[in-house]
Symmetry: C2
Subunit: 307 residues, 2 copies
């Protein structure tokens, strides 16, 4: 009985893919709002009140908390862009950890978009940075992290910890991604397709949740729909994290091939077109963000037949 209670109290006890798919079902939309806060784009009302690094970070935190409040009832998941916090050094990391706690308290699934990757022991240190329990007992651990696939299997497995998940980069949404990822191998497939096979193999049977999806997912950009269909087929058990929708140019028709026939298996992420969906001088910036999140959730939810 004591054990059962303890298990219920561990917010990371379930399989990460089960938590994410449950949150998607609950909200009726497979979307994620990317939180990439930068000082230059804050609402005028939140501009830093002083010139120190602490003032800048304080303003970012106030903004991000407002965004969390605005989006929490509309979407199942948020994704923090680690780089936006790292540029503020230790103050930024402290803010990031605090915001992860706040996001989780609002019932949101959390992806740490850190694109981490290294080999052996160093990969284990990165996994510890994300997933080791916090000594203050707070839930500052993300549910998922994004990782780089270039190192192969021993760069990926250290991130596969019980209760957590990782999205491995397969196909990025930037123009330059082609140079490496679209190269064709002697065996006929592209580099990205070969990486997809590797991810499907590492993230197979042993890592599946009750929902049928794996704790190892994949990042597949929305800007190349034909390729996305091929990658979807190569990775039937991976949840695809799909950037590139909105500000980066991907539309509804571009994201459809990332999903399985039943509308499961992917989560579409949008950052700037949601969190900066306000006129900089408006006082009502947070309702503009809430509206943008609601429209985004509605649009994608309809596109995959969940609404």
């Amino acid at each position: 009985m004591a054990i059962a209670t303890q298990r219920d109290e561990d917010p990371y006890a379930d399989h990460a893919a089960d938590r994410l798919t449950a949150a998607i079902s609950r909200t009726g939309s497979p979307v994620c709002v990317g939180i990439d806060p930068v000082v230059d784009r804050l609402p005028a009302a939140l501009c830093p009140t002083g010139g120190s690094p602490a003032h800048a970070v304080e303003a970012l935190v106030t903004f991000a908390l407002g965004v969390l409040d605005a989006v929490a009832e509309h979407v199942p998941c948020v994704k923090f862009q680690s780089a936006c916090f790292e540029r503020h050094r230790h103050l930024g990391i402290e803010a990031l950890n605090r915001l992860i706690v706040e996001a989780r308290q609002r019932g949101l699934q959390v992806i740490l978009d850190a694109k981490r990757g290294d080999i052996g022991l160093s990969a284990e240190h990165y996994a510890a940075a994300a997933f080791d329990p916090c000594q203050d007992g707070q839930d500052a651990r993300p549910d998922w992290i994004t990782i780089n696939s270039y190192f192969g299997e021993d760069g990926i497995t250290p991130f596969l910890r019980k209760g957590f998940g990782a999205f491995a980069l397969v196909r990025t949404s930037n123009p330059g991604g082609d140079t490496v990822q679209a190269q064709r191998l002697a065996a006929g497939q592209t580099v990205a397709e070969s990486v997809a096979r590797m991810v499907a193999s590492i993230g197979g049977q042993a890592l599946l949740g009750r929902c049928g999806y794996s704790a190892l997912g994949a990042v597949v950009g929305a800007t190349k729909p034909q390729e996305a269909a091929a990658l979807r087929e190569l990775m039937p058990q991976q949840i695809l994290l799909v950037p590139g929708f909105g500000a980066q140019g991907g539309g509804v028709e571009d994201i459809r091939p990332c999903f399985a026939g039943d509308g499961t298996g992917a989560i579409v992420t949008s950052s700037r077109s949601v969190i900066y969906a306000f006129d900089p001088d408006t006082a009502r910036w947070s309702s503009a963000v809430a509206d943008a999140a609601s429209r985004f959730a509605e649009q994608i939810g309809r596109a995959v037949g969940m609404r």
Copy 2:
């Protein structure tokens, strides 16, 4: 006159490759000591005096400062493994920044081994995290950073800032690296060779220092000497950062092909076999580290004809 003085005072004013090659010439050895501090491997005398995260980080800093003192007269360069610090969250980042300042004060060139990578704006944020001036005026900026190549050109160029350098991952030293990097393309070359061509092209003419080497270097593991020779040829203007020597199994004969015929063009890095070269219970751990750094510098310096 004022301008000249100002320029002299900017420690990052010279081209990063010129600073690094000058430091290598001065010390007579193209080596780098990797600083990957972990609590479990500290000398007994430095074990944390309490159980809090702050105690752990304090112990790591004391150890790393001792390592810097021990190696500074023997080697031109140190490389901090970001993951070892990130696992201690904001306290670790604060410690890392402090240690970069301390390393630079000892005349050491500094590589931040962060394997960062992302696209567009996010890559710019990561570059800002490493290379933006610190508001307190301290030199907490590394001379070089390691970056991931999987994103292609627009994932690399944001890191190419005047006065700083980047080592792009081409061939890693881990067993799993083959799965992606050793795949053969339809055009005949391997994925790693194709990435090497891209790096050579991006890091060409406009990025060369007076020494003839580029501010864009490449990471090429020491564990595959035949491949290293081919990669050296594809990247004649890149300084190769060569991990895998020592603890990871690479020997002197394995690193030779990473260098140009005149003994320039590469820097060999070793971490655990130098910084943990002591009996855990000895009080004289720092002289053991100094001896190991001196032997490492001697061995590689001789192998490339600099001593």
